[in-house]
Symmetry: C2
Subunit: 437 residues, 2 copies
């Protein structure tokens, strides 16, 4: 294993050095389509190469095609953090290579998953007794929730969600052959409960922190209606849910405790690298009805329900280990500090935009995302954003609200400082002068 120790030392050095120098890279990859592909050989090598070649080509070939999600100046989509404890946890996960197909195949995987999702439930102030599970991403979590809703009410084939709901709701509905009906949002982009027609509905998806403007649907009022009609309520808090770790923000989540299922992605705003979405449900038996089929070769003596009976997936990765590492190494206070700092920075940026002539805010800010635009046409704003991103200095993305092109600045990287946010604002104003000129 001396080679492994040597290669591992080199890989670890690479990672430490990368994390040290995150601000030196252009945030958005500065390559053209096909450029990375063209720089790679057409076929795998005949003979084994040393691991050093992998690191060499990671630097020499791949890095120019990396968009730096770890950069403190990544403000696009929802900014994320692969935190240090979780990065090391991924090393452990790969080394242990657990395959969670049933309890005995990894008791530690199954029970740590049950425990960590319950820790997280408590941290977010959710009620006792929810059944939790970790999925790869929210697209799967939401699909599982809607499949369970369909199972619970097979004669009803309609899913209702706000026009601002995430595309994964549409994707899940399509896969499940459910009829997605989009409900209009109001002037603050929240689902209009008066437009909610629950006839034929098996599920409503309410979002706390929509992907475009991070608007908040009136979950309590929707829950009321769903309870009256026996319709499954799924709450998509994939991004914003992590903020509930701060008690002072719980008011924004009012009603989610009444949901039939809830998705929160620790890989978005809770410092866990990609591949950690938590789904809770108060109706685990209906999830199990929708997904359980235990084949002979997995039937064993222990009377323990397998994680795979609650999901589409059979062989689970040991994802709980990275969530566990984060919850341990940050603690409740550490997680709260990250969220609060992000809200402070977003409020600061919001104030700068609001006070600057020629710029306008485009949506109420609830969490760590600011929606804004420069005065002028959509084309001008689009050109502005392309210039900003092409500079490599910072990376932002856009959405469309009330038919207008809107720029989004999403704060969510734990390494982002006030200086980074100020720098983003300077870059935006600099490029705006260029576009206007």
């Amino acid at each position: 294993m001396s080679t492994f120790r040597e290669d591992g030392g080199a890989a670890l050095d690479w990672v430490a050095s990368y994390l040290d120098r995150l601000r030196e890279y252009p945030v958005l990859a500065q390559v053209e389509p096909g450029e990375i592909r063209a720089a790679l050989p057409l076929a795998a090598p005949e003979r084994a190469e040393p691991f050093a070649n992998v690191l060499r080509d990671l630097d020499g070939v791949l890095m120019s095609g990396i968009t730096h999600w770890q950069s403190p100046r990544h403000f696009a989509y929802f900014a994320t953090t692969g935190s240090e404890p979780a990065i090391l946890a991924e090393l452990l996960i790969a080394a242990l290579n657990q395959v969670g197909i049933l309890w005995r195949a990894s008791p530690a995987l199954q029970e740590l998953e049950e425990v960590t999702v319950d820790w997280l439930r408590q941290l977010l102030g959710l009620p006792d007794g929810l059944h939790g599970q970790i999925e790869d991403g929210a697209s799967l979590s939401t699909m599982i929730a809607l499949a369970s809703a369909r199972e619970a009410r097979p004669e009803s084939r309609v899913v209702l969600a706000s026009e601002h709901a995430h595309s994964s709701v549409e994707k899940a509905a399509r896969l499940l052959e459910l009829d997605l009906r989009k409900v209009p949002g109001d002037d603050v982009f929240a689902l209009r409960v008066d437009q909610l027609d629950l006839a034929e509905a098996c599920a409503v998806v309410a979002t706390i922190g929509t992907t475009g403007p991070t608007s908040i649907d009136p979950v309590a009022a929707i829950a009321e209606r769903c309870e009256e009609e026996g319709v499954w309520l799924h709450v998509d808090a994939a991004y914003a849910g992590s903020a509930a770790v701060c008690p002072e923000l719980r008011g924004l989540f009012s009603g989610w405790e009444r949901a039939d299922s809830i998705v929160v992605n620790p890989h978005k705003w809770l410092l866990v690298p990609q591949g950690c979405s938590v789904l809770w449900t108060r109706r685990p038996e209906e999830v199990r009805n929708a997904f359980s089929l235990v084949p002979e070769y997995l039937r064993v003596a222990e009377e323990v329900a397998s994680l795979s009976e609650y999901t589409q997936v059979l062989g689970k990765r040991f994802r709980a280990l990275k969530l566990w590492a984060v919850l341990r190494c940050y603690g409740r206070e550490g997680l709260q500090a990250v969220i609060r700092e992000h809200l402070r920075l977003a409020a600061l940026f919001e104030r700068w935009v609001g006070e600057e002539p020629g710029w306008e805010l485009c949506a109420p800010r609830h969490f760590s995302l600011v929606c804004f635009r420069h005065e002028g046409s959509d084309e001008l704003n689009e050109a502005l954003l392309e210039r900003v991103n092409a500079s490599g200095d910072v990376f932002l993305s856009h959405t469309r609200l009330d038919g207008r092109y809107v720029v989004r600045l999403a704060i969510g990287n734990a390494r982002t400082t006030e200086d980074d946010v100020r720098f983003a604002w300077e870059v935006l104003r600099r490029e705006a002068r260029g576009v206007v000129a």
Copy 2:
């Protein structure tokens, strides 16, 4: 980052030492249900803890609940290997934390995925022009294939697969509300083509290397029928597909080059840790039709189809990096050497069983799996297997063939030597004496 370097050094030491001592652990976790859960705190800590505590509790609390998939003496289900280059690649993947939601979000992720799956296609002798993609596991790959088949032929709602097909086919059919009809197998557990009624079928799933006895469906004959009727043929070679890296084994795969889609899991027999299933299709446009919906906020200037347009998932992990590391660090020759050695060891074990009075072989061996049983009742064999696994010395699993309880010895760990296989045989005979006595 000095803490990261220190913590990383400790984590790396832990991993190197773990890989050195794999034979010292009981292969099957020796805990009772609930034991790990009971040893963990009821809530997350208030304050940050050092990463050293994670390693401490990994050893002190979790390790007793680990079933050692990395052990050379793990012969259950399909044995797998998280190889050293791939373990380190997972460290890099986590550090880069790419989120492949569209091309610009990580050109390197998308293009390396395209390139590595094409390298693998060539290594396996599959035809040019297949569209490849990496999914988390075969359950998702098969679900994507069947959703595409449904999309291509919406009026036909039947899926046909052998009675020996993997449970994921049934799970996918259920999710997609397709009617799965199981086709009987013949006396060597291969799908009976004469029993294949393609009326109303949108898809047939043929398996090369079934999960129970690793039987091989007559893919060429099935392809012939599917082509005549315009039915989608999905080939499940999740386990066995990796063996096609050896040209002398290609005869076992005859016909798979005519499939509409094929799944092979490098995380099974190709040295990649959990979370790497490759799906190829010759009909990418129908996959895209089934899954593409590009929302406004992901519409950007580049005219590049996103990986997410071909799958249920939106934010992909950088899985290609670990496949790339394996293909580089083993090369074609290295991969062939692993497969050939596993076949040699399986043939050896098969001979020992076949020559030993009181034992019988229960299925033809095509790859690295041997199905066998001791003379006597199912109960005796079940008791035998439970004793073997309870010893912790080796870990095997079972299936049921022709209504009988059958023990499976699956060779698939790159660290397994002839001594390990001989040891397994000794443990089996030792425990058989105990059961009979």
